[in-house]
Structure formats: C-alpha cells, structure tokens
Symmetry: C2
Subunit: 442 residues, 2 copies
C-alpha cells in the first residue's frame, strides 16, 4: 500500500524539464518561484492555455485542443448564457445570505425536486464555494448529529483539500495523513471482482469497519462515496451502494453521496449518480459543474440531520450562495434542462463506450472499458497486470496530438475520459481516432 | 464563559416574526423551508435587497440603504472595472491551475511585494476560494511542517467554517466544539487593559498555553490572529503582536496572520493589518475583499514552511486561482492602487473616528471608540458594564433609518462599522448624523 511522496497520476515530472521548449521552461520556473512547490502541472509537456470555446481549449499560437477532461464546464467553455447571467447579476448585486434575496430561494426550489426521496419531500439546500467545503460541511454536520467521529471511505477516495476532507482522501498519497477515526473499504472493482456480489461484499466491509470504530471507542458518523468512484479507478456497476446504505444505517451512520463528480447529469442515465444505486442518501454533496466554472457548490440534506446543528450553531459562507453564484448555478441548470444535455450525455456516452470497446477488441493492452454517460475509464494492462506506463504514454501521446484526457486509479493505469457534457459526435470521433492512432504506436 | 446555543450578535430572532410585514414573513418562511435552520438573517426586521451600487444597497421598492458594513466590496457594490474584467475573462477562458496560464503568475507577482519581509523576498502565493479555506490550508501546512497539532487563538476568534477552522473559532458559540489541541488567550482589550502592557501580557499567555500543549503531549503548530481582532471586539493598538510573535517563535510554532478582514488597505495606515504590528509572519491568509465579491482567497507563505508539504503532498483547488478569479483579484488590486483607495480609508477613517469621538463626549452610553482606518468599534456601556441591549437597539434603529452596521464582541456590545473602502465624506456625514439621531432617542 506504499505510494511515493506526493505521487499524482499524470503530474508533470520536473526531471524532464530540459527536453521542453524554452517558453514552457520559463513558465515552469516562474510558477515554481511564485506559486511554490505544492502546485502540480499536467502532462510531461504541460499545456499552456489562452482561450476556451465549447469543447476546445486554445494555446497562445491558436492551436486547438479537444477537451475530453474538464468536468467543471459541463456546457463547454465560456457558455454565453452563463457568462451573460453572471455579468447581469454582477452589474446588479453581489451580496451574502444574511439579507433576503430571491435568487438563492428560486435556485433551491428548482434543484431540490431533482434529488427525489426524502430530500425532495422536505430537504434543504446549503451553499458553499467548493466541493471540498461541501464535503467538509457534510461531515461537520454528521459528527454533530451522531456525536461520533468515524468516517468510512473507499480505498483510493478523494473528497477534498480541507484538513478534514484530506483526512479521508487516501488518494493524496501516503504522506498525507488519514484521520484517527477514518477507515477504508475496497472500491467495487467490477473488473477484478464479480459484479453480482460487489455490493454485498462492500456492505460487509462497511459493517466490519464500523464495528472496529466502535471497538476503538467511537463509532460511525458517516460513510461517504463518490457515486462513480473516480479516483478509485471509475466503477459504475449500478445498485452496488444499495446494500452498503443499509449497512451504514444499521451501524447508525449517515450516508453521504459525494456527487461533486457524478452529479448534474454526468452519468446520462440519471441526474444524480446515487440514483443509479437506488438509494436515498441523508446528505448529497455537489460542486464542480454546478456553475459552469463559477465557484459554487453545496449540500442537500434531510431535515432530521440538520435540525440539531441548526439549533446549536450556524453556517455562514461569505461567498457561498451569493447572488452571482446563484445566477451562475441557475443558468447552468436551466441550460442543462433546456438544451437536452442529459440526452446528449447518454447518446455520446454510448457512442464513445462502443468505440472504445471496439478498440479493446483489437488492442490487447486494453483490459476493460467501463463507466456511465460521459465518465469513462479504460484500464490498461500488460500480461494481465496494471500497466501504468502504457496509460501514461497514451495520455501524453494524446496530449501531443492535442487531445486532453488524464489517468486515475490506485495503479495509475486507468484512462480517465470526462469531457464537457456537450461533447459532440465529431468530438467523439476525433477522440476515438486519435486514441486508435496512439494505441497503434504504443 | 457560557453562551446560549447558536448565539450570534445581530441575528434576526424568529420570536419577533409576527410584528413583520407579510412579504418579509413569507420570505422568512420560504427561507426556512428551502435553506433549513442553520442560516441566519441580520436585524430584527431583516433587509430585502435587490440592487447595489457603490456604497448603497436598494430594496425592491427602490429605497436606498447606506452600506457601512460590507467589507467584501472594498470598491463598492458592482464596481464596473471588476465587472468588466470578470466578464472579459469569462468570455475568454475559465480553467484551473494544472495548465500554464499567465494571469495567476502576474497576480502573484504584483501582490507578493506588498507583504514585505521574508514573503516579499522569496515567498509564494497559493489560491483558495474562501478565507476559511485559506486558514484551513495554513493550519494543514503548519501541522505538516511542525509535526504538531497545537493551535492558539484569541478568546472570541473567528477563523472559518470548515471543521478545522471552526475548531479554533470560539465565537461560533459554546455548542460548536473547540479542538482537542486548541487553546485560547485573551484578546488585547485596549479599553479594559493598559495599552502599554497588552502585548507583553498576551505574549506571556501564549508562552503559558504553548507549555500546556507540550505538557499534554503535543506542542504548538501555530498561533493565529486576526490583526484587528474583529470578533473579539475590534482592538487596534499597534505593535501588540510583536512580543507575541517572539513568544510563538520561541515555542517553535508558526505565526499565521489572518488578514481576511484586516487586509487590502482596510486599516488605512498600512496595506496589511499585521504591518501595524511590526511583524514578519510565516503565513498570511486573505480573502473577503480580494475580488470585490468574486470568490477568491489565498495564502502567502515563506518557502521554508511550504517546502516539506510541497514535497510530500500537493494542493489543488478546482476553482482556486482559476483565470476569472485572478482577473477579479487583479482588477480589484489595480483599482485600489490606481484610485488612491488607501488614502481614502485614512482620510474618511479619521473623519469617522473624530465624529464618533465627538458623539462619545456627548453620550455617556459610548464607552470607547477605537479601530483603524475603516474598521471601527464603538463600545456601548451602562454604569461601566457592557450594554448589549443598547448596541442591539442602535444597530436596529439605524437599520430602520436605512443605515447598515452590525455589532460584535464577546458581550455583543460593540458596534461594528466596516464600510466599503470608497466610503465618501457624504456617506460618513450620513452615518454620523443618523447615529446621533439614534443615540438621542436611546
């Protein structure tokens, strides 16, 4: 289980600095001087970007890059409707939640029904700026209402960069400490395990870890999972979390569905990733795509869980839920609905999956193609074992052909394909044909 | 030291709901239904806002409110230069820090020299979305580099809403738990203590608490203070933190200057509040006013402190340091400099202080007028004791006259006056004359 210090899949490695063009070297040196050593760039030849439009990024020479990676702009880069909504609201008012304003209430009202279950029936929205803040707040509330500290996450989870969320984000590497009360369960690996029993085995692991937390003198506050298990390697077997949710409830913990990556129609099939699992979470957290680039995030929560916290203390986030954030979120949500974005995800997702599976049939380096909607993982293997080198080469060779993807998973061997939700058929064709070319040259 | 559950100075109290206009009652009921019980409104008659311009907010009937409270818009509401910069950048590109972009580097380069000392010489900037995230990151780094967990803050400090920062934010009330390794020292109360010895006494308290942290098996990771002690009651005696910084260093801890409230020219005299204390902090945290309303925050840090963290792990914040955040921050900084905002703070701050002191000479309910620049505290007393009722009445009576301030301090008896930095002489006159009218009617 040992990982090198500061490991990160697809991080630029400064050892290859000398092979880069002078302008890139200068920019990297300037970054190191001004931003310090904790920042990472992507790719062995980091990309300089100057402009974005739809599913394309452009460098300063005007070269276009196909963006098959950035989930923060579900409607594509610089979507005019969001830009206009933000501009109009910035010209009108940008202030906080301690005055009465309509925008935040209108947005909460338009989003809450999408969750179904207990949240749609009587739940509340609370707004933060980032997904990290949303997960941090969810756990603060879970600890408050349960009176316990125990958190169970998956083996290579990522849930945020705050002190608390980093403590249950093992994918940050072995030198980033896990919390005293954090326990891990294996992710539901549909490639190496039998999909039919994944959920039951995960539920048994949760029960065992919850028992261990009690045995050590505390107990389970909450279980949290990304509904598409992004940093664990992208696993999308439906219904897996259903027995897990039952085990969590039996142990007295809350179920937190981390929809920062899997929410807002990403899976195509359903608006929220957890809905593919047939569960009714106590708290849902969301972020990245929510404002098409504007910093906005939040949680949806059942009333029973927030009552005590709301009585004993309060939540205020200076920028969270401000008028402009709400305008960005509303325009993004309305556009997703008005432009049939979820249908596009289903259609293009199926097309990409089919194309990748057809490549898998021809290239034995591909062990598995999986995912849902426009969140796809392609597992690279060699003699049946994980092949991080191949994944790294494909990611960097695609970057050289100006197609941007990344890689993920504990063994760094899973291609991560996660484009804007407005990815077109032509975009999918370009991604597939460039991937094929790269596989041929492997 | 006991405080009521969920206490908050100047929070709307639902017990007075029946006396409010129907539209306000409806909005409050709708908020409770959609946002739940953890949100708080200001004032006994909460303000509905629809529009903002400069130092004014407007309700839906077009009534103007003089804003003497909101520090998030230092340049005033809806400043055109920031709106334009954000719009232009949103139309061009909004993406994250794992690609090479110039804006973030240009901004870091233009801000770093302002800190002076070791940070100006060789320091780095790291970007978050909120002040809470900035303080949380500062402490994650402090714990990593020192290998210890101990944090010392002031008695009624507020440093954020994340799990970690809330654990050293005692002003959230007795039901919001302080951390196991958190200790508190009294704030440098210049009204009740001798200003000449405040710093020395605070330093002695820090030394004692650091010893206690060691005695309990850990030790001091960092001391943190808001350089204007906002939630402690606003204290502005210069040089107080100088002996404190020496005590912190002697105990092996880092000194974190929380400039979320006191930074960006708020004090008038200096660009950063810590500079009034003649110290050279290890980490400076900043937020609220940084983007004139756009969610942007960050830390400045000396290289020695970030080296190990940067080697062992990494920092990534999806929205932090994105192109639009940097455009907002750059436009805000440039405007502060180009429009002589700091001089305005000094001039109007002096004028307001003088006006309030002249009221203090005539109204014995005012015990003290203090602060720096455009961050002023007015301590209300009765027979020498704190008078929270008078402070509450003044805040609410001013609101009835459409002038917005708030109150602060452990006894809720200190008026908090903290307007946009472009507050004009006419604004100051209106604030002073309305305050006088309210004091007369007290």
């Amino acid at each position: 289980m040992s990982t090198p210090r500061g490991k990160m899949v697809n991080a630029f490695n400064p050892d290859s600095l000398s092979s880069l063009p002078p302008a890139t070297r200068d920019a990297i040196a300037r970054r190191a001087r001004l931003l310090g050593p904790a920042y990472r760039l992507f790719y062995q030849d980091p990309v300089q970007v100057s402009r974005g439009q739809g599913t394309k990024l452009y460098d300063r020479d005007g070269n276009d890059y196909l963006d098959a990676y950035n989930n923060v702009v579900p409607l594509g880069h610089c979507h005019p409707r969001v830009v206009e909504a933000v501009t109009r609201q910035m010209q009108t008012l940008c202030t906080h939640t301690r005055y009465i304003q309509d925008g935040i209430l209108d947005y909460a009202e338009s989003l809450l029904p999408s969750f179904g279950g207990r949240i749609a029936a009587a739940g509340h929205m609370m707004f933060t700026c980032t997904g990290s803040e949303a997960n941090d707040l969810a756990m603060r509330i879970a600890k408050h209402v349960t009176g316990r500290h125990g958190i169970i996450c998956t083996a290579e989870a990522y849930h945020g960069n705050s002190d608390l969320t980093a403590s249950f984000s093992p994918s940050l590497g072995d030198q980033s400490p896990l919390g005293t009360w954090v326990r891990r369960v294996p992710a539901p690996d549909s490639y190496h395990g039998d999909p039919a029993t994944l959920g039951q085995r995960m539920a048994e692991a949760v029960t065992e870890r919850a028992w261990e937390l009690r045995r050590h003198g505390d107990g389970l506050a909450a279980f949290i999972a990304d509904s598409l298990f992004s940093s664990d390697g992208i696993f999308a077997t439906p219904e897996v979390l259903k027995p897990v949710a039952e085990a969590v409830r039996a142990a007295g913990g809350l179920f937190v569905a981390d929809e920062v990556q899997s929410g807002f129609a990403r899976s195509g099939e359903r608006f929220w990733g957890f809905q593919r699992h047939g569960i009714d979470p106590d708290i849902v957290t969301m972020g990245k795509p929510m404002g098409n680039g504007y910093p906005v995030a939040g949680i949806a929560i059942i009333p029973e869980v927030i009552a005590e916290f709301g009585r004993d203390t309060r939540y205020f986030n200076t920028f969270g839920g401000n008028g402009v954030a709400m305008a960005a979120a509303q325009a993004t949500l309305d556009t997703i609905r008005d432009e049939g974005v979820q249908d596009n995800v289903t259609r293009i997702g199926a097309l990409l999956t089919e194309g990748l599976r057809s490549l898998a049939a021809r290239f034995e380096a591909i062990g598995d193609v999986r995912g849902a909607g426009l969140y796809l993982g392609v597992e690279m293997i060699r003699d049946g074992a994980p092949d991080a080198a191949a994944a790294g080469r494909i990611v960097n060779d695609l970057r050289a052909r100006r197609v941007l993807i990344s890689a993920t998973g504990p063994n760094a061997n899973v291609l991560k394909i996660r484009p804007p939700l407005v990815f077109s058929e032509a975009d999918a064709d370009r991604l597939l044909s460039e991937t094929e070319a790269v596989l041929r040259a492997l």
